[in-house]
């Protein structure tokens, strides 16, 4: 039924899209990008970056204040009505009183082009949940059922808004395997996440967003280049900021109550020099180049990534990089920790 002309169009076109809530909060601030057919793209950013708003807009759940959104060459609502889109939105709960198999069965029947019930249960890893009541599942199980619903109609384009939020490590791995299998069948996938490692491992392109703007757009390798910054934290009596600032690689020094936080572009050079100062250094932690750091590097100036990725000396360190302020990367540190759910360690591995 699809003509070749619409197949040649990009899967998603975002042209100068603005979304303002209640006339005050700007969730999307002149955002433009295109997503090619068959691509797997991550939308990466901290909470409040506008990721969900962008996805809701592409799904027709929200209308942009201005700008143009095209999905598969159509308006979002036309694409949804045509059954071409599958989506896992945030807070997409399940109804009361229905069994998982009934729920998935219903969604199959709402689409003309549908996967078999068995395939859906298998793809989402919920075969053993088929006879369970959908309103009595755990968060992770609910998430997987919603994944099955998103796949029910054999979508050309799949939107996943923080799809692994309540999955454990094993379920995550299985989830991304299924996504990969679907992508290999030609489905375009756009997912939102605030984990750089998740974006790195599963996307061929990463769009980094913050405060409603696109900060960077490139391959995972390019994006990771922004995150070479490390946070070094330790306590020492009477720290001398001017000395610490002269250590190799160090860009910022923040001290509070004898706790020093350095941000360095070259931790390997900074640490020997720090110990060479001969002053007592206790409780040393090296934190990953978290997303927050990457975003700071991106927002601070227009310097090329990798060359000198931190904000220059003398620039005030924003509150978000203070000891308690990390929302996306958690308390910096644990650079040697194993495969945990801790986003901070994921960032480290990625960087």
């Amino acid at each position: 039924m699809q003509t070749t002309t619409t197949d040649a169009l990009p899967a998603v076109v975002f042209r100068d899209v603005v979304k303002v809530y209640n006339g005050r909060v700007t969730a999307l601030d002149h955002v433009s990008f295109e997503i090619a057919r068959g691509a797997t793209v991550a939308l990466l950013g901290p909470n409040g970056a506008g990721k969900s708003t962008a996805i809701d807009t592409m799904l027709g759940l929200r209308t942009p204040t201005s700008g143009q959104v095209r999905v598969l060459g159509m308006t979002p609502s036309a694409a949804v009505a045509a059954g071409k889109i599958g989506g896992m939105v945030q807070t997409g709960g399940l109804p009361e009183g229905a069994k998982v198999s009934e729920l998935v069965g219903l969604f199959r029947q709402l689409y003309r082009d549908r996967r078999s019930l068995r395939e859906l249960l298998r793809l989402a890893g919920i075969t053993d949940l088929a006879d369970r009541r959908a309103d009595q599942l755990s968060g992770g199980q609910t998430q997987r059922v919603r994944f099955a619903l998103a796949l029910a109609g054999h979508p050309d384009l799949l939107f996943l808004d923080e799809p692994t939020a309540s999955l454990d490590v094993e379920a995550r791995r299985e989830f991304w395997q299924s996504v990969q299998a679907i992508a290999e069948q030609g489905t375009t996938v756009l997912f939102a996440t605030h984990y750089l490692d998740e974006a790195d491992a599963n996307a061929s392109r990463i769009i980094v967003a913050s405060h409603g703007r696109v900060l960077a757009d490139g391959t995972p390798a390019q994006i990771k280049g922004y995150t070479s910054i490390r946070t070094v934290r330790f306590s020492t009596p009477e720290p001398d900021t001017s000395v610490l600032l002269r250590l190799p690689g160090v860009g910022d020094v923040l001290t509070s109550d004898g706790v020093v936080t350095l941000r360095t572009a070259d931790a390997d050079a900074t640490l020997p020099a720090l110990y060479a100062l001969g002053r007592p250094v206790r409780g040393l932690e090296v934190g990953g180049g978290g997303l927050e750091e990457a975003l700071l590097a991106l927002t601070s100036d227009d310097r090329a990534p990798g060359a000198d990725g931190y904000p220059g000396p003398g620039r005030a360190v924003p509150a978000t990089s203070g000891p308690a302020g990390h929302s996306a990367s958690g308390p910096a540190g644990h650079s040697a920790s194993g495969p945990t759910d801790d986003p901070a360690s994921m960032m480290t591995k990625a960087g």
Binding site: L59, L61, G83, V89, T91, G92, E96, E102
Partner: protein
């Protein structure tokens, strides 16, 4: 739409306690009062009360069939999930209406059986058929009303809003007390409500009197208005999640 309707019915029927509670109250009232002697509006008490309780039960079932559940599912995000499926606004609305209409049948059936046996109500087959048709079709505006309440109120307030609406409908519509006994101002308000017109149609059908077109028109107007509000809210629903 058929698949969606079947899905909605299956999961509602699973909630047996809810179904029993919907029917219990009007049945109880009928059992208490149906044995009273007397005539009013050309009907025996047992017949008059049959219509009143059938209207009350129909209104309640139609509204509670969907309203509070819709409010909960709007809040937990199920509605967003449905909104990004290809189900059309019209398909969703039609399925929800049919679901609510089917929900009034248990209450109606129990009351009818009670009236014909316990209440010794005698109605010719034709008149009974007319009455049933009026009672079923006449609850359509209340089905839409339940949807509107579920779409406008949140989980906590939807239940209360339904109850208040139902009681106002019942009292001012002349179902719990005779409309002519109401204060003048309330009579005027009552006459605007769909419950008043449905009850009039019901009593007229039971008494073998001609049905007034004005009553039918009023119910149709309510249905149209509430249907527009419900479909408009469904289309624009995305802000709560």
């Amino acid at each position: 739409m058929i698949a969606f309707l079947r899905f909605e019915l299956v999961r509602t029927l699973r909630n047996v306690r809810f179904l029993v509670m919907l029917v219990a109250f009007p049945v109880l009232i009928y059992l208490i009062y149906a044995k009273q002697h007397g005539m009013s509006q050309g009907l025996t008490v047992a017949t008059l009360l049959l219509v009143s309780m059938a209207v009350y039960s129909g209104m309640g079932s139609a509204m509670f069939a969907s309203g509070p559940q819709l409010a909960r599912e709007r809040q937990n995000g199920w509605m967003r999930q449905l909104r990004i499926s290809p189900i059309s606004t019209r398909g969703w609305f039609a399925a929800k209406l049919v679901q609510a209409i089917l929900m009034i049948i248990p209450g109606l059936a129990v009351l009818m059986v009670l009236a014909l046996t316990y209440g010794h109500v005698h109605l010719a087959a034709g008149r009974l058929g007319e009455l049933l048709a009026v009672l079923v079709l006449g609850t359509i505006p209340f089905c839409a009303l339940g949807l509107v309440i579920g779409l406008l109120f949140d989980t906590q307030t939807a239940q209360v809003a339904q109850m208040i609406t139902l009681l106002v409908m019942a009292f001012l519509g002349g179902i719990f007390i005779q409309w002519s006994d109401l204060p003048h101002g309330m009579q005027l308000i009552g006459k605007l409500l769909p419950s008043y017109h449905l009850a009039q149609l019901g009593w007229n059908a039971a008494a073998g009197l001609p049905l007034a077109m004005s009553d039918v028109a009023a119910l149709a107007a309510w249905t149209a208005a509430l249907g527009l509000i419900a479909t408009w809210r469904w289309r624009n629903e995305s802000t709560t999640a």
